[in-house]
Symmetry: D2
Subunit: 261 residues, 4 copies
């Protein structure tokens, strides 16, 4: 879900709001930011002009943070539109490895589109973040790597707990992370009420963490208390410290992910 | 894949061919047949007239076999067309629990369509065979059961080894079958070269077996030797006997599945 | 390991020290205490007189806490000695479900001894805490329950990360906890450096937590900083609150475990 | 269990009987034989004179078969006695990686004894077959390899289904085989009624097979029909052919196991 102001007053929408939220997270140790752009009405947009403003605003405040652009194309499934942001050469971009029912409707990604997007990323020097909602998504990544469409080491983002896809129990993450090819890196998140438990399980397993309002609007689901990105990051950082998991700096994260610039 | 004459000369297409192939399998102990109809050109069709002819031809030769109609609608995604065969009240009908990339293209099933098909099945007294290609598909089934859209005990058909979905190793089947809710029944099949290994793993785990040309055209993949349905059934029956797994009669299978008629 | 003063100055040894440490944990929310007795030289002892003093001292300060006595007999493998503490009718007592190499030497438990101890516990109205270091230990528990030697609902304590037995990764706990029969309750702990990660994984999975100096002398293994029981309990309680896992009162814990007195 | 004539008339006991049984299996494709010696009364013995006679008799009939001697010392736990057979330099020898309850009584193996036996094997150029009944046994092997006491590539024999240790379901084998370090080889067997299902699951998973009367006296447990080694081998070879798993020649098996002589 790409949330809007109607969903929560704490969702950053404009380039300045996004940069400000990113900066708060950056000060708490966040090394990478995943970005969706919105148009002036607050709706998702693919336009590189908007992405460009966001990236500039972020880089002014967080010069070394890793920027990962969305290519999920929720608003528009055209390949050209989804790929437009790649011309800005963000560090990374999301790349869906299959088709899944988001909430109620399919988010179709034909294999042809996946390969085409991967090719554009390669051309622009953008490392794909492989989005995996099911074991089959990881399977597709392995296949595409075997065909040369993806270049190892691969980086996966495992998303669990959406109604139409893989659940978010520890057994699910153990299985899905255990499917990732050796030498890969991975982060994990839970959708909605499952965000925190998947984040923590990921830290226990040596995985990385994706956290924020895209996946979960609430700080506490039982209490339905709306969260800020900052609060969500702070909580997971507190638990990381309890667990003895050090937080990577952006430079360390770039080394872990094999990003050269 | 719904194979055609171009794929293999051994694919039964006409009602008489389908009934004849069914009868051969029935004599080998098969208790249930999964049916796709073809039009006069040999292409998939949803029309109940054709299904009706097939069912009549099958029942003449195999009066007590369980008939499970496809509603996958490969040729036509209209809900009305996919549901048409239900008016014939087959014992069971397939019901996809999600969206997956078949070979290369998505086979979209919105949750709304899934619920609508489930409702039609309930109205016509047709037990759904829940098709699961990923853990998320089983998750959807649990959710729909919790909402009253599916009535336990559930029966699952687990399909592994298709390129865009869950692989077909023992760990995959152990995980997927371990996700099925207690009290359910399940069968498993592997797509293409994985059919036999998934069938055998299923038998070892107390699951049932789906076998035949829809999933695998070859008897031996290394040798690319085309199979008949009869050969595929015979092989799996030989192994079942070696393993001490008795083959259920149609009456026993009806009891196992909770079919009353 | 049953630690001594040589291992850490923070190990409580005398009845008063044990009761004082228990009281500190009790105030932090601990609902159950697992007790090993020491003689006047600080070495493990089986004698019921010493256990009696400890239990009385604990009950004075924590009247409703669940007391679980050790019967592991580290000092003495005689069945009579191991069973002596049961005459005091603690709420629960530990019962090893098999043989394992502790550090370097076997801790043998023949099936005959296991059954004899279980019988004594039943006679004295003491609920066994089934100690499981490997999947086979859970298997033995199921077998003994099927023979009537153990009475459901069973309660397991899963111990992971000892060198000679099951490791302590998330996959290990998922597997072991997944082996426990339906309707059982379970807690989990990691040995040594694995205590915290197993505790947290257990909380994520709906299990309970065993924590303290018997399993881990250090607060931080990388820093080799010696812990107190209080510090270890405080940390796991902080994380429980972050995860939204409420801490059971002794009365709630008695209900969860099916303890009637 | 090391069966005797009282258990089954088909158990080979004398050197000539063992060699004859080995030869029958060898003709069916068996590439390796696991040997226990018996004294003149038919009871287990550790004596190298008896092992020497057996090995000579086997080598006369099956010159290239891989010989794996038992060092389990069921009759006698003295390290010197258990190691005596190594002086004959068989190709391989069994090496228990821990302590487990056989049937009802512990079979203790201290870590010191394990290391001492491993050292003797290394000195005599005998490759250890690492016997694993639980995940902890595999864990010990990894630890000993990390300390230089075992030299990779490791070969494991996974034994499932004994009452006091790991069960024999597909999930158990998937888990245990999934614990084996990369680059290792492994075979699997089930104890008693579980032999065949573990053998077949192993073949599905790319593992090797151990089969024979030591683990299972019956051909069919429901019918309590006593088996010969030959029958057990024939059955598993038939299934291997159905599954398209080719049977390795002794030379191929030596290459797979990294045996140089
Ligand atoms: Zn996104
Ligand atoms: Zn079909
Ligand atoms: Zn203890
Ligand atoms: Zn043996």
């Amino acid at each position: 879900m790409v949330p809007t102001r109607k969903d929560s007053p704490y969702v950053p929408l404009t380039p300045e709001e996004i940069a400000e939220d990113t900066y708060r997270a950056y000060k708490l140790g966040v090394s990478s930011v995943h970005v969706h752009a919105r148009d002036e009405a607050g709706n998702p947009t693919y336009k590189k002009e908007v992405y460009g403003e966001i990236f500039s605003a972020i880089r002014r405040k967080c010069p070394d943070i890793i920027i990962c652009a969305s290519t999920s194309g929720r608003s528009d499934r055209s390949l050209e539109h989804r790929a437009e942001v790649l011309e800005l050469r963000p560090d990374m971009a999301s790349l869906m490895m299959g088709t899944v029912n988001f909430i109620k409707n399919p988010s179709p990604n034909s294999q042809e589109d996946i390969v085409a997007l991967a090719k554009r990323m390669e051309e622009h020097g953008v490392k794909p973040e492989l989005e995996a909602f099911e074991p089959g998504f990881v399977n597709v990544a392995k296949y595409l790597a075997s065909k040369g469409h993806l270049r190892p080491p691969l980086h996966f983002n495992l998303l669990l707990g959406s109604l139409g896809s893989m659940p978010a129990e520890a057994r699910d993450l153990v299985f899905l992370a255990g499917s990732v090819p050796p030498g890969s890196t991975w982060a994990a998140t839970g959708i909605g009420r499952f965000q925190l438990q998947v984040n923590v399980a990921s830290m226990l397993m040596g995985g990385h963490v994706r956290v924020g309002l895209e996946d979960s609007l609430y700080y506490s689901y039982p209490e339905k208390s709306l969260a800020t990105n900052e609060q969500l990051v702070e909580r997971v950082a507190r638990i990381a410290r309890e667990l003895g998991r050090e937080i990577a700096t952006p430079a360390e994260a770039r080394a872990i992910l094999g990003l050269d610039h």
